[in-house]
């Protein structure tokens, strides 16, 4: 990658650095590709792009608050948590990144063939209170099941994705709600079958699974830099959606650069097929996620107020310049 060498020019802004945090996940595809290929740096010109990868959302937001990164690609639940914890002060969602890409996989020989067979089983999700965990729990609740922590007969454990694979193989669990590409991996390598594609549970098959957040003070002080970033982000999004196959190849390459590892192309293709790369933060789904998390007792005692979490003005400005349709900013009050 050429990021390191391309920098160093003049500054006409008070800040000459933009620090981006992201994870080498498929729903951060724009960042993985755009940063890796140098597209972002090209767009930002004299602003030096510094990057930091994280292996989980909470750590990313932690770093954002600690003023170690300025903007970050993260999942919706850490975003909500961060927003609430800072009393709506310290961060804003400035764009979306991905939608979909989570599945409920069950073991072939678990005896589960339909939603009515879930009683008495044991399932896994990656992390207590994360996007998939909330989805799994609300799904079970909605279908009349109760988890063991509230006296029901379904046990939920939280484990790292790779450990979930081991447990599926050992038949320690009957299924798991996981993000892609782990759904595909479980399906192919751990005798799993997809019981639910989460997109089927949402209106229009869309629900946000990655957004871009910015530190509020950075957003206020350097709207110009944010704008350049979003231009790059939108461009990258469009390019990926127009060149799916090539994008997958490049993504895999960049993954190799970042981690030294690649994912088999066919697995990656399947994973991407259940995922939409987008710049739309799908605001209503974020509010719904927050409500669900609140309903499960994961958020504070009082109902979270997410008013003002989105600041899409710059995104819309960029979209406008590119002749793309703007995204209507919605407030929580309008969703009820």
């Amino acid at each position: 990658s050429q990021t390191a060498e391309t920098v160093h020019v003049t500054t006409n802004s008070s800040a000459d650095v933009l620090r981006i945090g992201y994870s080498p996940n498929i729903n951060h595809a724009q960042a993985v590709i755009g940063i890796g290929t140098g597209d972002y740096q090209k767009e930002l010109g004299g602003i030096k792009v510094e990057t930091q990868t994280f292996n989980a959302g909470p750590a990313t937001v932690e770093a954002l608050f600690a003023n170690r990164v300025d903007v970050a690609y993260v999942g919706p639940n850490p975003t909500i948590n961060g927003y609430i914890k800072s009393n709506g002060q310290d961060l804003r969602v400035i764009a979306g990144a991905a939608s979909g890409g989570a599945v409920f996989v069950v073991r072939n020989d678990s005896g589960i063939n339909s939603i009515s067979d879930l009683g008495g089983k044991k399932f896994a999700s990656p992390q207590l209170g994360n996007t998939q965990d909330v989805a799994l729990r609300s799904f079970l609740n909605k279908n009349g099941y109760k988890t063991s922590d509230v006296g029901g007969n379904i046990q939920i454990i939280n484990a790292a994705n790779s450990d979930i694979v081991t447990m599926m193989l050992k038949k320690d669990i009957d299924g798991a709600w996981v993000p892609e590409p782990w759904g595909t991996i479980l399906e192919r390598n751990a005798h799993g079958k997809i019981l639910v594609d989460e997109r089927d549970l949402w209106a229009g098959g869309k629900f946000t699974t990655a957004v871009i957040v910015a530190r509020t003070d950075y957003l206020q002080n350097h709207p110009d830099i944010i704008k350049k970033l979003l231009e790059a982000h939108v461009d990258e999004t469009l390019w990926i959606n127009n060149n799916k196959d090539k994008a997958i190849t490049i993504f895999d390459e960049q993954l190799g650069n970042l981690t030294g590892k690649t994912i088999p192309e066919n697995e990656l293709t399947e994973a991407f097929s259940r995922l939409d790369i987008t710049y739309d933060p799908i605001q209503s789904s974020l509010y719904k996620s927050a409500d669900a998390a609140y309903g499960l007792g994961f958020l504070d005692d009082k109902k979270p107020n997410l008013d003002g979490i989105f600041d899409l003005s710059i995104l819309n400005q960029v979209l406008d310049e590119k002749n793309l349709s703007a995204i209507q900013q919605v407030n929580i009050s309008s969703t009820g």
Binding site: A56, P58, A59, V61, E62, F65, A66, N67, P78, N81, G82, K85, S86, D90, Q127, L128, G129, N130, I157, N158, A159, A160, S162, D163, T166, M167, K170, D172, F298
Partner: protein, 266 residues
């Protein structure tokens, strides 16, 4: 004369407590000042008051006391196993010299395994449950116990062993009445270290395997960006570590040092 000594002891204890309290007060003071200076956002570094509130909350809803109980139960069980087996293997290492030498190095290699590395094996071999966590804790502390047993015993001045064997002590009796007490001052140091390894391991394992416990509170706090809960649980970890050390291991060490007359630094 005796009374004087006792009252001296008491006032010594008070003095120590005052010392500790002072250090604590200074620490909290600095923390508060740093907080008020606002160098870091209050999410990253909450104020002492916020942490206290968090403490109050998780104590009231019983999640803290319960977790502490569970974690300690697990830890004690695992650590006892570590100590018993570690000591036994350490002894075997002394007994069979070639085996001991080889295993001493191997243990050193295994000692350097972070507990995190044991988690996948634990899940594979045992599963995602109590015993899985205990396995991680045992694997993280047993080598330390083994090595320190081995080293401590090897460092016993040979004259004690000679004298004892000369008086007819051998086998288990030799071990029970000579080897063990002679190695004790040094074993205790090893025990204290083993205890820390076990502590590290259990918190690490509970974080990674997110099974109810103190580590789980910490990790959940972190996942939900609740730094005051994180700090509250860290303070709990610190306090328990301190209490166990101070009122168990250190007391033990101190008593033995007194008994041996090692305290006679003038």
């Amino acid at each position: 004369m005796n009374k004087k000594i006792i009252s001296e002891k008491k006032s010594q204890g008070l003095h120590d407590a005052a010392n500790a309290a002072l250090m604590l007060a200074v620490f909290v003071g600095i923390w508060e000042v740093v907080f008020m200076l606002g160098i870091w956002s209050k999410i990253s570094l909450p104020s002492p008051a916020m942490v206290a509130e968090s403490f109050y909350k998780i104590t009231l809803n019983l999640s803290l006391p319960e977790s502490v109980g569970i974690t300690l139960g697990r830890l004690v069980a695992a650590f006892l196993i570590s100590i018993s087996f570690g000591t036994l293997i350490g002894l075997a290492m002394i007994r069979f010299k070639g085996f001991g030498k080889t295993l001493n190095s191997f243990s050193a290699g295994l000692l350097s395994f972070p507990s995190i590395a044991w988690v996948p094996f634990s899940i594979l071999l045992i599963g995602f449950n109590e015993f899985g966590i205990m396995f991680v804790v045992i694997m993280s502390s047993i080598f330390s116990v083994m090595i320190s047993t081995y080293s401590s015993i090897r460092n016993i001045p040979s004259i004690y062993m000679d004298a004892a064997r000369n008086m007819g002590a051998k086998g288990f009796t030799l071990f029970r009445y000579v080897t063990l007490p002679a190695a004790t001052p040094s074993l205790i140091i090893g025990l204290r270290q083993g205890w820390s390894f076990a502590w590290h391991a259990i918190i690490g394992a509970e974080i990674l395997m997110s099974i109810v416990g103190l580590g789980h509170i910490l990790s959940v706090g972190r996942d939900f960006l609740d730094m005051s809960e994180v700090i509250a649980s860290m303070i709990t970890i610190f306090t328990i570590g301190l209490i166990v050390d101070r009122f168990l291991l250190y007391k033990l060490e101190d008593r033995i040092r007194k008994k041996w007359g090692l305290d006679h630094h003038r």
